[in-house]
Subunit: 478 residues, 2 copies
Amino acid sequence: MFEQSRNLKLFGLMASIVLSCAAHAAEKTEASVSFSKRELATAAWIRDHASKENQSYRILESLTTEVGSRMAGTPGDARAVAWAEAKFKELGFDKVWKEAVRFPSWQRGVESAEILAPFSQKLAVTALGNSISTPEAGIEAEIIRFATLNELIAAPVESVRGKIVFIDHKMKSANDYGQVRQGRASGAVEAARKGALAIIIRSVGTDSHRLPHTGGMHYAADVMQIPAAAMSNVDADLVARILMRGGPVKMALKLGSHAGEVMQSYNVIGEITGSELPNEYVLIGGHLDSWDLGTGAIDDGAGCAITMAAAEFLHRHGLRPRRSVRVILYANEEQGLFGGSAYASEHQAQLKQIQAAAEADSGQGPVLQLDSFVGAKARKLVMQMQSVLAPLGVKKGTSDADPGPDMGVLKSAGVPSFELVLKSDDYFDIHHTADDTFDKIEPARITQAAAAFAVFAYLAAQAPIYFGEQMPVVQKSH
Amino acid sequence: MFEQSRNLKLFGLMASIVLSCAAHAAEKTEASVSFSKRELATAAWIRDHASKENQSYRILESLTTEVGSRMAGTPGDARAVAWAEAKFKELGFDKVWKEAVRFPSWQRGVESAEILAPFSQKLAVTALGNSISTPEAGIEAEIIRFATLNELIAAPVESVRGKIVFIDHKMKSANDYGQVRQGRASGAVEAARKGALAIIIRSVGTDSHRLPHTGGMHYAADVMQIPAAAMSNVDADLVARILMRGGPVKMALKLGSHAGEVMQSYNVIGEITGSELPNEYVLIGGHLDSWDLGTGAIDDGAGCAITMAAAEFLHRHGLRPRRSVRVILYANEEQGLFGGSAYASEHQAQLKQIQAAAEADSGQGPVLQLDSFVGAKARKLVMQMQSVLAPLGVKKGTSDADPGPDMGVLKSAGVPSFELVLKSDDYFDIHHTADDTFDKIEPARITQAAAAFAVFAYLAAQAPIYFGEQMPVVQKSH
């Protein structure tokens, strides 16, 4: 009886919960799922106040000054991890921890190139990430130019054999990056298939300075590995002018870069714990590693600083939203998205607890547009978010957001994703060069981006429903 | 009789010449010394046609592509001399020759610097021209910052002894060059007087790129020689930020630069011989040597190309003016005006035969203003020149023209001098850096400058009077 009575009581309780939930669900139909006036007012307050401070600028100044260059697996990388843990703690994050990430390392060595004939000209070059070295004495060979990777692929083997391939694909705007970077990534494989001794590409960048752009390249298991380098756009212009005169052009190339041992670094994570749903997460962040030539200001110190400052703003002002906000500073993005993969694997069981994912990895801002990738019921919420952001100049965006390189794997797994699209028309001027330094940062730009991320993180974490489902959050099982 | 008769005849002839000259002289008073309508129309035709072609651009493309870097005494310098002789001949100059110039040479070696503590940061540095090397292992010492050379001069000896002096004088605009370069030129002497181990300066340049600016420095006979380098503006910003945190900052500096043997190069000269007064000269030109980091496009390939194209234009169109136009491509300007001094010495006896001297050594143009330094009677002629140039945007200038580094010695000797003032607000962005390359040249700018120099050379060579005297040219004794 006791048991029965208890069961009845329980049944009655459950029935009332179900009815209540049903009522709640009925309320939150497409038309009615929205942020409250108070939530929207809070978000507007965040926008207006976060855009008046320079926390992100100061965080980035600290990272670039006190750590600087931090290529994965280098002492700079280790210093960056220590910096990030200390900085999260200094900023008062509720939880701060790191998660190990392992990867094959790569080291840069000597690098030089020159045209030997018909005119002696030194070139500003840099090894592409992952490139093997040349023989110690270097390689001397005739160069053969291709306007694009596809032109190389279409070329007869006999025209390429024994030569240094030069891919002269000029990047005219940021929109070209996806296409032009193919020559950097896959050029060595295609050149080696045709018997080339090495490959040197025009820098994948939009500037005209004597600073080559590095960046990742890969080999294929069944194709001979050959050294791969980039020359500055200025030097590519010069070599193209020499080639236009006709006749063979001979180049010397020396690279000392090489693979190193398997190394370990860390995703460093700071969390502002949610007030109601602490086990549901809004993930923002950037990648902590940089290429080695600059001090990683725009790539991706800016993304780290913007998202750290955004979360810290909420915390400092006691605006603890319902869900947790995690700032993830990923390890080794540049050499193969190792940090992003590691986080997704490590947190495989909790992917359904991710309310939203949005990495910042396209520069210092400002945010121009809000792209989303959410369930149908969340669309009105996204529209409300954009309305709050509109005074910052943030426009409506697409519904197929790219959440960033390290978070792409989450989107593939069905995680609701966002892109706060950062202005990047000048990003590829300094991307992956020695010129990626703090002096390029404009306080107003990075501050706007941090304010936009603060608004986004607050509203996503506060939202009445799970962004990934049609149902309201109270009915969710996760 | 014969003799007498002949003498009488000669007397009659001379009397008629004297009368004619007197009449001519009377005509050419202050008010009446002017170019003829036909001369002015010819000058306008030169202006309009020379500004529609790209000869100067093509000459500079040739020099920077086929020769490139050409620091005095290097193989590139020798190639530049051969290029200049061949190019003058190819362009059809009437006379082409070279005059030997001797100078102590200097060689660049390894160069690296880094901050060791409190934060490890690599710096982009370059040796200043004439600097001695550090010990092979480099120098490690605390750095001490001074905002200016004067601040260093005012500092107590004990604060400087045993340290690396850092002069952090920021160049805000081209107007600052004269002042800021003092730290580059004399900083090592002042630092060594107080017992410093080395000096490193903020680059004397207006850019924000990771490319240090080299440039000449000197030692004093009675003061210890210490190594001298420049870091890029970006790195100077970084070091200043590190210093602002307080506490000692330790730097490592390694330079392998050193003096070499006495070398010989050449002033290369091309002449368009005058139709009436072939032994009177209008001198234009630039300096053929460059610093070694770039390919010497703006400094001073542009000046060479502008003046070569200007003279060649007159020649190609059969516009042979009364006096000769000489284009002088000076040897080794950068390390001490050796070519300019050599020309003045070599031609000491003919200084009074120089009608006008105007070097182009401030970039690619356009010409903004016509400065002059001439006798009072020539002022109206200068005004007429400027009127012809006005449609190109050339304004009236000062009456105390600086004819350029290599021709300054001529002005000091009383030679009539001009400056076709070149736009230089962006000149110090790339001056003396690896970024001084052909891609920075805008055809419209260099073409305007060549057209202005063509007009100037034509009118100066055609002028009815010697620019350096009060008297009309027919009365001149030289």
